[in-house]
């Protein structure tokens, strides 16, 4: 063990600083906000109303609660310090290489956060009369047009809050389209490589799922689609490039096979970053496409959202898009919620506007040429990593990679070291692990999406770390299996968390 070199690490102070109001026990890490609380403290002032009767008296005791027992009581600096300490326990794209496959962890331009926070956007109430919100409506209208151009679709709705909600919206649009034609179709075809949201959204949209098998080379054959499609098929959901990072070579034949039976092609745009200026979903025969602004269009992932999941459709499906739609009148932009064929709304108001502003600023910054360059450099980076890794971590498929590559390894067999162990050891090198164990069709998969905003030097250091881990797994497997070693915590016991769920803090009994 003496030869263990600790890899570069993020600056985390594992021991709490000496400070009176912080629990110093090393067992405690950063205390919970509730544990820092002290009766009578406050961290924000509330303006008083002169001479008014107290709110509780106005409403009467009948309607009012007792004390907010257990709620935190801290000063403003205490609250700030608590959350800034917590922030230091996170890996993040801005700090670390974060090659999480299918998540497109590209740089999130900081200016976009600033622009979304301009008072004209941030302080705008959603029910402001349209003539007083023309700038916001113009952003949305221009954004719809830009996304239509990028995807080759005819109409775009910015309404859905996230990719999964976009999927639901798209599938409900498909359903409404068929119903309008007098057809109740029950089935959606989904490849075995698909993200879990595809079948989950299909179930929510009232469809039964038929699973299509990808071939040994890792892509979907039109023959398989022809075998499955019937007059009862509403749509097929295809992620292209698929989750193996492979461009579906038969995508147009798949579209033909579906259209021949009256079914629609739904293109999941989770991997749209690979297609920028390379191939437009609309030209592949897609009838519906859903995008993730937090992937391709650079809005911050926020530790798990908020994102935004616009959908684009071909003209015949436009009447079914969610409400409200943005329309141009003689006197400016307005919302239209009188659309009898629309599937309705899936949320309040008009969309995740704050994310739309950021993504719009990103599209303006890159322009058509910059977006095409981003797509190509993302593909270059993935192919570079794939090539450099091939001796130890071969690609799961021999097909060319687009913006991400899925690799496998033999360490499970050779050293009883799992993909999870590799992922945890990578943390010691200051690198966020790739997506692991996905797609499900590749045992022990490592799905790597470097994105176009990472430099060759970063990719080289990632490759070097992975090579080291591979060799270490053979020479000193215990080191890998017990990782991480350099973070504030060692391996977290997730089994225990599920076995005995503790989902909230409760005060210790006195």
């Amino acid at each position: 063990m003496s030869s263990v070199e600790k890899a570069p690490r993020i600056e985390v102070d594992p021991a709490p600083a000496i400070e009176k109001d912080v629990d110093e026990s090393p067992q405690m890490g950063v205390p919970l906000i509730f544990e820092l609380s002290s009766s009578g403290r406050r961290g924000a002032d509330v303006a008083r109303v002169a001479g008014a009767k107290r709110g509780a008296e106005i409403l009467g005791a009948e309607l009012c609660r007792e004390d907010l027992a257990g709620f935190p009581e801290l000063s403003e600096p205490q609250v700030l310090r608590h959350f800034l300490r917590l922030s230091q326990l996170n890996f993040a794209q801005a700090l670390q290489f974060y090659p999480l496959g299918s998540c497109t962890m590209k740089y999130n331009p900081v200016v976009n956060d600033e622009l979304a926070s301009l008072p004209g956007f941030a302080a705008l109430h959603p029910l402001t009369p349209a003539h007083l919100a023309q700038g916001a409506l113009a952003v949305m209208a221009d954004m719809e047009a830009a996304l239509a151009e990028i995807t080759g679709m005819d109409a775009v709705s910015l309404h859905p809050a996230a990719g999964a909600q976009g999927e639901l919206a798209g599938l409900l649009v498909a359903r409404a389209y068929h119903l309008k034609r007098g057809e109740r179709r029950h089935k959606v075809i989904i490849p075995d490589t698909a993200h879990g949201t595809n079948p989950a959204s299909s179930a929510l949209a009232g469809f039964e799922v038929a699973v299509a098998r990808s071939n040994k080379r890792g892509f979907m054959e039109a023959a398989e689609v022809r075998r499955l499609v019937t007059d009862d098929t509403a749509a097929m959901m295809v992620t292209n490039p698929n989750t193996l990072g492979i461009f579906e070579p038969e995508i147009r034949a798949i579209a033909h096979a579906l259209h021949a039976r009256g079914a629609l092609l739904y293109l999941d745009g989770a991997n749209m970053n690979a297609l920028l200026g390379v191939a437009k979903p609309g030209h592949m025969g897609a009838d519906i496409v859903q995008l993730n602004l937090h992937k391709t269009f650079s809005t911050p992932h926020g530790g798990g959202g908020p994102g935004a999941g616009p959908i684009g459709v071909k003209r015949p499906l436009e009447p079914f898009l969610p409400m409200p739609r943005i329309v141009k009148h003689a006197d400016g932009w307005a919302f239209d919620d009188q659309r009898p064929d629309s599937i309705g709304r899936l949320r309040s108001f008009h969309g995740n506007f704050g994310m739309i502003v950021r993504a719009f600023a990103y599209i303006l910054a890159l322009g058509g040429d910059g977006l095409a360059r981003a797509g190509r450099l993302a593909i270059l980076n993935a192919n570079y990593v794939r090539k450099r890794m091939e001796s130890r971590f071969p690609a799961a498929s021999a097909e060319p990679s687009m913006h991400e590559c899925v690799l496998s390894h033999d360490l499970e067999r050779r050293a009883d070291v799992s993909t999870l162990d590799i992922a945890k050891r990578l943390l010691d090198f200051g690198i966020h692990p790739p997506t692991i164990y996905f797609p499900l069709v590749v045992p022990g998969a490592l799905m790597i999406e470097p994105t176009e905003t990472e430099s060759r030097e970063i990719l080289d250091s990632f490759v070097a770390a992975m090579e080291r881990i591979y060799d270490e797994a053979l020479s000193d497997p215990a080191m890998v299996k017990s990782a991480p070693h350099t973070l504030a915590l060692s391996r977290v016991d997730e089994v225990e968390a599920a076995r005995h769920p503790i989902l909230r803090w409760t005060p210790k009994p006195p």
């Binding site: 302080a123 959603p126 926020g302 996905f438």
Partner: protein
């Protein structure tokens, strides 16, 4: 391009390693016909200063964002956001991380979510809360779906007509493709503005799956949630409460104490900017007994291998990436950063501040209602209200326009959603409104009543 580090020599050397001559070689397998038409016909890229100037110009065209005495509410509320909230959410460590799949590298996010789950449980007096939903309306729809999993076989979903129109519409959309469910609307009492208990009694049959009522409701009226839940329970059904103005929970009896089985709502009031309606923050709390039917992410407490306290995502077997078409929901990304904002906001206000703020909102809104009444503008309903109330005027559209000319955004006309309330304007008063503004509101409306 400033976001991409590749120099020409980087590209050349990388291509050499790959064994390609040109980047185009890497996409040569994409059908030529697709590549040929893939160019993106948008303006060329711009420098940062140009982008900032363009967006600033557009922002300035939103004249309604400033300069008006503003009384718009109806599901999204104007509240002061302490600077410390944004100081935390702007941290790249939080903002540019992703779903905390790797617990050891995500303790900041997971612990903050655990604190969020606790705070919402305290506010709602419920036992479990998830890591967040998109917004109040979609959380309400997910709550109905959750009820369906808890009580399969029951088919009637009873929505209060006084529930926010967006929430009702969202629930309808979410249920639109699912077989065997029927939505009925529970009328409101035109005098009080609260859901008619007699209507719930009529709906309370063995078929009833759940009732969904606003708390406060879409007229700002504080529903008798205890009686509604009790009546719902007599039919063996589930009572769902939906709160759009989260600040109200700082003062009103919590849904859990009144018998609600699932409490959902919108957390925008907890430190999120209005941002033209999104992103917001859906919250969802429930009884422990129904935990396994809950949608969305959950963070749990555990320990690391050295016995130190740790937090991680848990009970993932409910979720789409494991269960696929049998998952409790398709939700994947939620609104984590918004939940963080709410956690900071609620921690800052704390036990004393949140209640004071809620009381202040009640005081101001009631002050406004009496000032308006003194000027002959009377409330549409006489039910108790929190910080929002409907008034009756002869011509709402004309009144709102006239007020706007006086620099007052007086509220929202209810007529588009409620033809039966052709004269009603919904007015929201928060701590952001000064007494001077309330005076101007009264002047403006009195002129055209």
């Amino acid at each position: 391009m400033r976001f991409m580090p590749h120099t020409d020599s980087d590209i050349a050397s990388m291509l050499e390693v790959i064994g390609a001559h040109d980047i185009e070689d890497l996409i040569a397998h994409v059908p030529a016909a697709l590549r040929a038409t893939a160019a993106i016909a948008l303006a060329p890229g711009r420098i940062e200063a140009e982008v900032a100037a363009e967006l600033s110009t557009l922002a300035a065209q939103n004249r309604g964002a400033a300069g008006f005495a503003n009384f718009l509410g109806a599901g999204y509320y104007r509240h002061f956001v302490p600077a410390a909230v944004r100081a935390v959410t702007a941290r790249a460590e939080f903002a540019t991380s992703y779903t905390p799949y790797q617990a050891e590298a995500s303790q900041g996010t997971t612990q903050a979510i655990f604190e969020f789950q606790t705070l919402v449980c305290q506010l709602t007096a419920m036992e479990v809360t998830n890591a967040s939903m998109y917004d109040g309306a979609s959380a309400a729809a997910e709550a109905v779906l959750m009820a369906r999993r808890i009580l399969p076989g029951r088919r009637v979903v009873a929505l209060s007509r006084a529930l926010w129109p967006d929430y009702r519409a969202t629930i309808r959309t979410y249920l639109s493709a699912l077989a065997g469910l029927e939505i009925v609307e529970l009328p409101f009492d035109p005098a009080t503005g609260a859901t008619r208990l007699s209507a719930i009694e009529q709906a309370a049959t063995a078929d009833l799956l759940c009732t969904v009522t606003g708390y406060p409701n879409g007229f700002g009226v504080i529903e008798p949630l205890g009686a509604i839940a009790a009546t719902t329970h007599r039919a063996g059904a589930l009572a769902i409460s939906a709160t759009a103005e989260g600040i109200a929970l700082g003062l009103l009896k919590p849904p859990g104490d009144l018998g609600a089985d699932i409490a959902v709502g919108e957390g925008q009031s907890f430190g999120l900017p209005l941002q033209f309606g999104g992103p917001g923050l859906g919250f969802m709390s429930a009884r422990l007994a129904h935990l396994r039917q809950m949608p969305g992410r959950l963070v749990g407490q555990t320990s690391d291998h050295d016995g130190r306290r740790a937090f991680c995502l848990t009970l993932a077997t409910r979720e789409q990436h494991i269960r696929r078409e049998r998952a409790t929901s398709n939700i994947c990304t939620n609104h984590s950063l918004c939940a963080l904002a709410a956690t900071v906001y609620l921690s800052l206000l704390g036990r004393l501040g949140l209640r004071e703020l809620a009381e202040r909102n009640v005081e101001l809104a009631h002050q406004a209602a009496s000032i308006l009444a003194a000027r002959g503008i009377h409330r549409q309903f006489d039910g108790s209200f929190f910080n929002e109330f409907a008034v009756s005027v002869s011509n709402p559209a004309a009144a709102l326009e006239a007020a706007e000319r006086q620099g007052v955004l007086a509220g929202v006309a209810l007529r588009p959603d409620y033809p039966e309330l052709a004269h009603a304007i919904l007015i929201s008063v928060t701590e952001m409104n000064s007494s001077g503004e309330i005076g101007r509101l009264a002047d403006a409306l009195a002129e055209v009543r």
